[in-house]
C-alpha cells in the first residue's frame, strides 16, 4: 500500500556529506579570511611580532647579565639575606610576636584614651555653659558669684581629668612609634637594594612593555598601529592647514631607542640618535618621520607602499644623504649643520657663490649680489685680445674660474666683446686719464720683483689669492676658486698702470668690489705691481682687434647676444641695468615631478628627478633638441659639487610647514644667516677661523702660528660692539708684530652692522654695549691689581704692550696693548679669559695664572683678584681713542648690496 505524499526513497537519502563539505568550505574560507586579514594584508603585524620577540630577548639577556653581576656582588648578597631574615622573623618569629602584641596593646590603650578624652570634652562643654550663664547674669546685672563658684568647681574637675588623660596619650604615642619602628625596620635595606637592582630591574619593565598577562600566562603584546598625528603640519591645495599622519613607527619601532644600532632595518636605531632625534631635536613622537624622510606615511600594507615607491606617489622615501634636502623646510640656518648635513651646507655655499642666482630666482636668495666684477670700465683693465679669448672659453685660461663656458663661436665671442668694450670705453678712458702710469716704476727689476713677491706672501694677499698652480685659500667646492688665481695675471691685464691703481685702491676703480685695500704705500704698490707683471707672459697681440671691437655691426650683434646669454646676471654692464634674470625660477624646483622635466632626446638618463638634475648640472645643454635650445652654460663642476647642489635643489619645495614646527626663525637666526653670507662673500674665513672653520691662510704659518691672523671664534662675546663697528670700518693696528694686515674693506654702514650682528648672534650677546663708570672701581681693587700686574707678580707687561710702550724682546713675543682693553674688550669676557685662556682659545700664548694666584693679595681670594685685574684693565687707557690707520679714499657711493 502506497502511502500518501511520502517518498520513502527521498526520506532515506542522507545529505550528511553535503553539509560536511559545506561546513568544510566555510571553515576553510573563514580561516583564509582570518589569515588574509591578519597576515597577508597586515604585514606590519608580522614586523611587530618579530620586534617584540627581539626586544624581549634582548631585555632578557640584559637582565640576566645584570643579575649575574648582582649575584657576584657580596654587598648585594648580604643585604638580601638581611632582608629575608627580617621578613621571616616578622612573619612568624620573635619580631612578629612582639609586633602583634604591640598592636593589640595599642588597640586597648586607644579605647582607654578615647574614654578619658570624652570625659574631658564633657567637662569642657559644661564649662562653656557655665560661662554663658555667667555672662548672661552680668548683662542682666544679677549677682555673679554663684556662677563663678560653679565655674571654679568645673575648672578643678577638668584639671583632674587632664592629668589622667596625659599619661594615656603618651603611652599610646609610644606604642604607635614602636609599631612603626618595627614595621619600617626593612625600609633602609629595601631602599639600598632598589638602588643596587635598578640597573637590572629596568629590563623587567622593558619585558612587561612587550607582553601582557592573562591569569598566570604571559603573551606577546597584540600588534597595534603606531601613529603620530601632526596637526596643521601641511597645507592643502587651498592653502588651508591640514594634519599629517605618520605610521612609520608601526614597523620602525626602535628608531628612537638606544641599543638597536646594530640591528637590521626596520628595527635599527636612527643614526646619531642622541643628536638628531632624542627628545630635544626631532622627537619622532612630536614631529613624525616623513617631515624629513618623505614616503607615504599613512600606508602600512607593504614596504613599497609605505616608502612611497609606488606609481604616482610624488614623495618617495629620501634615502641616505638625500634626506638633507629636507632641513631647509624648517631651518633657516643650515650652514651650522656642516657635520650632520654636509652636502646641504656645501650645496648652499656653492649655489650662492658659483653664481646660480645670477640667472635663477629663488625665494630667500634674491638679494645675493652679482658675483662677478663690473664691466663698466673693463676696457681700462684687460687686454682686448685676451677678452675675446676669455669669452670664447674662460676655462682655457683659468680652469678653476667660476665663470662658466658659454661655448660661443669665435665671431659671437668677438661680437659680445665688442659690445661690452664699446659700452665701457667712455668711463674707462676717463679713469685712465685721471690715473696715470706711476712714476718710478722699474719694470722687470729683479730686486723689486723679489720685494713684491715677499710683500704678497706676507701682508695678506694669499688670504684670498693663489699665485701658482693649485694654490688657493678658501675652497669653493672641489673644482672652483672663490678668488682668481693670479699665476698668469700679466697675460690678462692691459698693463702695470691698471694693476698699480687697482691694488692701491680697488674701490677707486670698482666701487662695489669685494677686493679690499691693504693700505699699500706707493713703494709697496710699485713692487707688487712689478711682481704681478712677472706672472705669466704678456698677451699675444691680435691684429686689428681694436677695429673689430669698434665695428658697429659687431657691437649691434653683441648687444643681442649679451641679452640672450644674460651676461648681466653676474656682471654690471652699462646699458643692461634693467634686465632681469634669464633662467627659470627654481623656488619650487625640488617639487617637480618627472613628468614636468624634459628629457629631450636623451635615452641614457633614468627617468627620475635625481638623474635629470644630475645630468642637467653635468651637461647643461644635454636635453636640447633640434627644436628646443638650451642656454645654460657649462660650469665644469666636480661630481661631488653637483651632488651637493642637487641636495640643496631638492629642498626647494612647494611646501609650507606649519609655524609651530619651524626651527627658531627669530631675528637672531636671521642675523646670523645674513651676516655669515656677507662674511663668506668678503671671504673673512680666508684669514680668520670663524665658527671653528676656515683660517685657511694659516697653512702658510705652520712654523709660527703666532704670526697668523687671530681666530675669531667667540668674537662677539669678546669685544664691545661699538669698538668692533669702528674697527671694521677702519682697522687699526692691534698686533704690531704681525706682518699680515687686516685690510680695509670699505664696508657700508649696513654691511658693518650686519657683520657685528653676525658675531653677536653667534655668541648670543644680549648686551652689546658697555658703559665704564670709573667711580665704580673700588680703590682697593685698583691698588691690588697694580701689584698683581707688576713684575713681582704676574709681570703682564713682560709681553703686553703698555699704552704704546713696547715690551722687551722680539716682536713675535708681544701681546696686545692693554690700554686698548677699555675701548675694545667686554669686561665680562676679561674675567672668563683670565680664568682659563686655553678654554677660550686653545693654543693661546697667554698662560693660565689661575688657579695659582698669590696668597697675600686681596686675602688670597682668586675671584676677587680676577675682578680687580678686570677693573684695572678697564681703568687704564682712559680717554685713549683708537687711532685710525690711514684709510684710502673710499667713494661715498658705496651702496648696500641689492
Amino acid at each position: 500500500m502506497a502511502e500518501r505524499g511520502v517518498d520513502q526513497k527521498e526520506e532515506k537519502k542522507s545529505y550528511g556529506s553535503v553539509f560536511v563539505l559545506g561546513a568544510g568550505i566555510l571553515a576553510a574560507l573563514s580561516l583564509w579570511a582570518f589569515l588574509d586579514d591578519n597576515i597577508t594584508r597586515r604585514p606590519w603585524k608580522g614586523f611587530q611580532a618579530k620586534f617584540y620577540r627581539l626586544d624581549y630577548n634582548k631585555a632578557q639577556a640584559a637582565y640576566d647579565e645584570e643579575d649575574k653581576k648582582l649575584q657576584a656582588d657580596d654587598k648585594y648578597k648580604e643585604l638580601s639575606q638581611k632582608l629575608a631574615a627580617f621578613q621571616a622573623s616578622l612573619a612568624d618569629g620573635e619580631v612578629g610576636k612582639k609586633l602583634n602584641s604591640q598592636i593589640a596593646e595599642e588597640a586597648r590603650v586607644t579605647v582607654k584614651f578615647q574614654e578619658a578624652d570624652q570625659k574631658v570634652k564633657d567637662v569642657k562643654s559644661e564649662l562653656e555653659e557655665a560661662w554663658y550663664e555667667h555672662d548672661h547674669a552680668v548683662q542682666q546685672k544679677r549677682k555673679i558669684e554663684p556662677y563663678l563658684e560653679v565655674i571654679a568647681a568645673l575648672d578643678k574637675k577638668k584639671a583632674v581629668l587632664d592629668k589622667e588623660l596625659e599619661p594615656i596619650r603618651e603611652k599610646r604615642n609610644q606604642l604607635k612609634d614602636e609599631i612603626k619602628k618595627i614595621q619600617s625596620g626593612a625600609k633602609e635595606i629595601e631602599t639600598e637594594l632598589v638602588k643596587m637592582t635598578g640597573e637590572r630591574d629596568k629590563w623587567i619593565r622593558v619585558m612587561e612593555n612587550v607582553t601582557f598577562k592573562l591569569g598566570p600566562f604571559t603573551f606577546p603584546k597584540i600588534p597595534k598601529i603606531q601613529q603620530v598625528s601632526l596637526d596643521e603640519f601641511d597645507r592643502n591645495r587651498f592653502d588651508q592647514p591640514v594634519a599629517r599622519v605618520d605610521r612609520c613607527q608601526t614597523c620602525h619601532l626602535a628608531i628612537n631607542r638606544p641599543g638597536f644600532e646594530k640591528e637590521a632595518n626596520p628595527y635599527k636605531t636612527h643614526p646619531r640618535r642622541e643628536v638628531l632625534l632624542a627628545d630635544s631635536a626631532h622627537s619622532p613622537d612630536k614631529i613624525g618621520c616623513t617631515g624629513c624622510h618623505e614616503g607615504q606615511g599613512m600606508a602600512v600594507n607593504g614596504v613599497k607602499q609605505a616608502h612611497g615607491d609606488v606609481h604616482l606617489w610624488e614623495f618617495p622615501l629620501l634615502r641616505g644623504a638625500k634626506v638633507q634636502s629636507s632641513c631647509t623646510s624648517c631651518h633657516q640656518d643650515v650652514q651650522k649643520f656642516a657635520e650632520d648635513a654636509p652636502l646641504l651646507a656645501e650645496g648652499q655655499r656653492l649655489f650662492e657663490q658659483v653664481g646660480c642666482t645670477g640667472c635663477h630666482l629663488v625665494k630667500g636668495y634674491e638679494n645675493i649680489p652679482k658675483i662677478a666684477p663690473s664691466l663698466k670700465k673693463i676696457s681700462a683693465k684687460v687686454d682686448p685680445g685676451w677678452m675675446v679669448r676669455w669669452i670664447e672659453n674662460p676655462h682655457k685660461f683659468r680652469q678653476r674660474t667660476r665663470m662658466p663656458n658659454f661655448d660661443l663661436k669665435p665671431d659671437d665671442a668677438l661680437a659680445v666683446a665688442a659690445y661690452i668694450w664699446s659700452q665701457s670705453k667712455e668711463e674707462a678712458d676717463q679713469w685712465t686719464q685721471t690715473h696715470p702710469a706711476p712714476a718710478g716704476f722699474r719694470e722687470g727689476d729683479p730686486n723689486d720683483i723679489a720685494k713684491g713677491k715677499k710683500l704678497v706672501e706676507t701682508i695678506g694677499c694669499k688670504g684670498c689669492h693663489g699665485f701658482a698652480d693649485g694654490e688657493f685659500s678658501t675652497p669653493l667646492g672641489k673644482s672652483k676658486d672663490l678668488v682668481p688665481n693670479l699665476k698668469d695675471i700679466a697675460a690678462k691685464v692691459v698693463g702695470p698702470q691698471w694693476i698699480y691703481h687697482w691694488i692701491k685702491n680697488p674701490r677707486g676703480f670698482e666701487p662695489e668690489t669685494r677686493m679690499p685695500s691693504l693700505r699699500l704705500s706707493d713703494d709697496e704698490a710699485l713692487s707688487i705691481t712689478n711682481y704681478l707683471m712677472s706672472l705669466g707672459g704678456r698677451p699675444d697681440p691680435v691684429a686689428g682687434i681694436q677695429e673689430k671691437l669698434a665695428d658697429a655691426k659687431n657691437i649691434k650683434r653683441g648687444e643681442v647676444l649679451v641679452r640672450k646669454w644674460g651676461c648681466f646676471g653676474c656682471h654690471d654692464i652699462k646699458g643692461m641695468e634693467k634686465e632681469s634674470r634669464i633662467g627659470a625660477e627654481l623656488t619650487t624646483f625640488g617639487s617637480k615631478t618627472v613628468e614636468e622635466l624634459g628629457f629631450g632626446n636623451r635615452t641614457d638618463v633614468k627617468h627620475t628627478w635625481d638623474d635629470w638634475t644630475y645630468f642637467k648640472l653635468k651637461t647643461p645643454r644635454g636635453y636640447a633638441t633640434e627644436r628646443i635650445e638650451q642656454l645654460m652654460p657649462q660650469f665644469n663642476l666636480h661630481d661631488d659639487d653637483i651632488k651637493a647642489l642637487r641636495t640643496l635643489l631638492g629642498g626647494f619645495r612647494e611646501r609650507k610647514v606649519g609655524q609651530r614646527y619651524l626651527a627658531d626663525q627669530g631675528l637672531r637666526v636671521q642675523q646670523v644667516v645674513e651676516g655669515r653670507r656677507l662674511m663668506q662673500q668678503y671671504n673673512c674665513v680666508g684669514c680668520h677661523e670663524i665658527e671653528k672653520q676656515g683660517g685657511f691662510v694659516r697653512k702658510y704659518y705652520q712654523e709660527n702660528v703666532a704670526l697668523a691672523p687671530p681666530p675669531l671664534n667667540g668674537q662677539g662675546e669678546k669685544v664691545q660692539s661699538s669698538w668692533f663697528y669702528s674697527f671694521l670700518k677702519s682697522p687699526t693696528t692691534l698686533r704690531p708684530w704681525l706682518e699680515i694686515r687686516m685690510p680695509t674693506f670699505g664696508f657700508s654702514d649696513e654691511h658693518t652692522t650686519q657683520l657685528v650682528n653676525y658675531f653677536n648672534g653667534l655668541s648670543k650677546v644680549e648686551q652689546p654695549y658697555h658703559y665704564i663708570d670709573d667711580r665704580k672701581f673700588p680703590a682697593e681693587n685698583l691698588e691690588a691689581a697694580k701689584i698683581l700686574a707688576s713684575a713681582e707678580y704676574f709681570n703682564c707687561f713682560s709681553c703686553h704692550v703698555q699704552g704704546g710702550k713696547n715690551p722687551e724682546g722680539p716682536k713675535e713675543g708681544w701681546a696686545p696693548d692693554l690700554a686698548m682693553a677699555r675701548q675694545r674688550l667686554n669686561p665680562n669676557w676679561i674675567i672668563k679669559w683670565l680664568k682659563d685662556p686655553q678654554k677660550i682659545q686653545p693654543g693661546a700664548k697667554m698662560p693660565s695664572f689661575y688657579p695659582g694666584g698669590p696668597d697675600n693679595i686681596l686675602g688670597g681670594k682668586e675671584d676677587r683678584q680676577i675682578e680687580a685685574l678686570r677693573d684695572y684693565l678697564m681703568s687704564i687707557g682712559r680717554g685713549a681713542a683708537p687711532a685710525a690707520a690711514a684709510a684710502p679714499q673710499v667713494p661715498a657711493k658705496a651702496k648696500p648690496a641689492k
Binding site: A791, E792, Y793, F794, N795, S798, C799, P807, E808, G809, P810, E812, G813, P837, Q838, P842, G843, A844, K845, M846, P847, S848, F849, P851, G852, G853, P854, D855, G860, E862
Partner: protein, 235 residues
C-alpha cells in the same frame, strides 16, 4: 693660592687603558741593555741663541741651541726606549725635575714613564710660562710668576711633549713620557743603560727631537749586559 701650588693637570680616566698594555712586576735574573748613540755626518757648529729679554737674569751665561748636540761624535739628549716590552720591572713613579734656571730648561730632555709628575722649578725670580705642545695629552699653558717657585705637571700618556716658554721665545725643552719604565736619555758621551730587563728579544728605539726615530733588535740574556750601538745620520 698655595694649595693649588702643586697644580696637577690630570686626565687619569683616559690614561688607564693606555697604560694597561705594560705589566710591571718582579724581574728575576734580569739582564741589561747598554750602549751608545753615534752621530753620522758633520756635527753642526754650536749656535748661540739671541737673548733679547730679561737680560740681567737670562743673559748671565751664553745660551746655546740645545736642539742638536754632538760631543766627539756622540749624540747627546737622545731618548732610548724598548718599544715592544709588555712585561718587566715595576713602574715606580718618582717626581722628576725640570729646571728653568737662567731661562733654560735643564735637562733639555727629560724622559720618564707616563704618569710621572714633573716638578718645574723657577729660581729666576721672573715670569716664565710652561706651554706644552701636546696632542695625545691635554695641552697646558701655565704661568709661573716669580712667587711660584715650583709648579707640578703630570704627563699621563706616552708622548714626546715639547715645552716652550712664550715669555722667552728661545726656551724650549722636551718631556718624554713612555709606556714602560725602560727609558734613558743619552749623556755627554752618548751612552745609556737600561737595566733589570727580563731575558728576551726586544726592539730598542732611539728618538731625537731633530733626527727622528731609528730602531734595532736586541736580545737580552739573563744576568748579562747586551751591548748595542746606534748610528743616527744627520739631516
Amino acid at each position: 693660592m698655595n694649595k693649588f701650588g702643586s697644580l696637577v693637570l690630570a686626565m687619569s680616566l683616559v690614561a688607564a687603558p693606555a697604560m694597561a698594555a705594560y705589566e710591571g712586576g718582579d724581574v728575576k735574573d734580569g739582564g741589561s741593555i747598554s750602549g751608545s748613540v753615534k752621530f753620522k755626518g758633520t756635527a753642526p757648529a754650536p749656535k748661540k741663541l739671541d737673548v733679547g729679554k730679561d737680560k740681567e737674569v737670562c743673559g748671565k751665561t751664553a745660551k746655546m741651541d740645545q736642539s742638536l748636540i754632538v760631543e766627539g761624535g756622540n749624540l747627546v739628549n737622545a731618548v732610548v726606549t724598548i718599544t715592544d716590552i709588555k712585561k718587566g720591572k715595576k713602574i715606580e713613579l718618582k717626581k722628576v725635575q725640570f729646571d728653568q734656571n737662567g731661562c733654560e730648561y735643564t735637562p733639555h730632555v727629560v724622559a720618564f714613564p707616563a704618569g710621572t709628575t714633573v716638578e718645574v722649578i723657577n729660581p729666576d725670580g721672573i715670569l716664565h710660562n710652561v706651554h706644552s705642545y701636546s696632542k695625545v695629552n691635554t695641552a697646558f699653558n701655565q704661568a709661573q710668576p716669580k712667587f711660584k717657585k715650583t709648579l707640578e705637571v703630570k704627563i699621563e700618556k706616552p708622548e714626546a711633549v715639547e715645552v716652550k716658554c712664550d715669555v722667552h721665545g728661545w726656551m724650549h725643552g722636551w718631556l718624554v713620557a713612555t709606556e714602560s719604565p725602560y727609558v734613558a736619555v743619552t749623556d755627554k758621551s752618548g751612552s745609556f743603560k737600561l737595566d733589570n730587563v727580563p731575558a728576551g728579544s726586544y726592539t730598542v728605539e732611539v728618538w731625537h727631537e731633530k733626527l727622528g726615530k731609528s730602531t734595532q733588535k736586541v736580545t737580552v740574556k739573563a744576568k748579562e749586559d747586551a751591548k748595542v750601538t746606534f748610528e743616527v745620520a744627520g739631516k
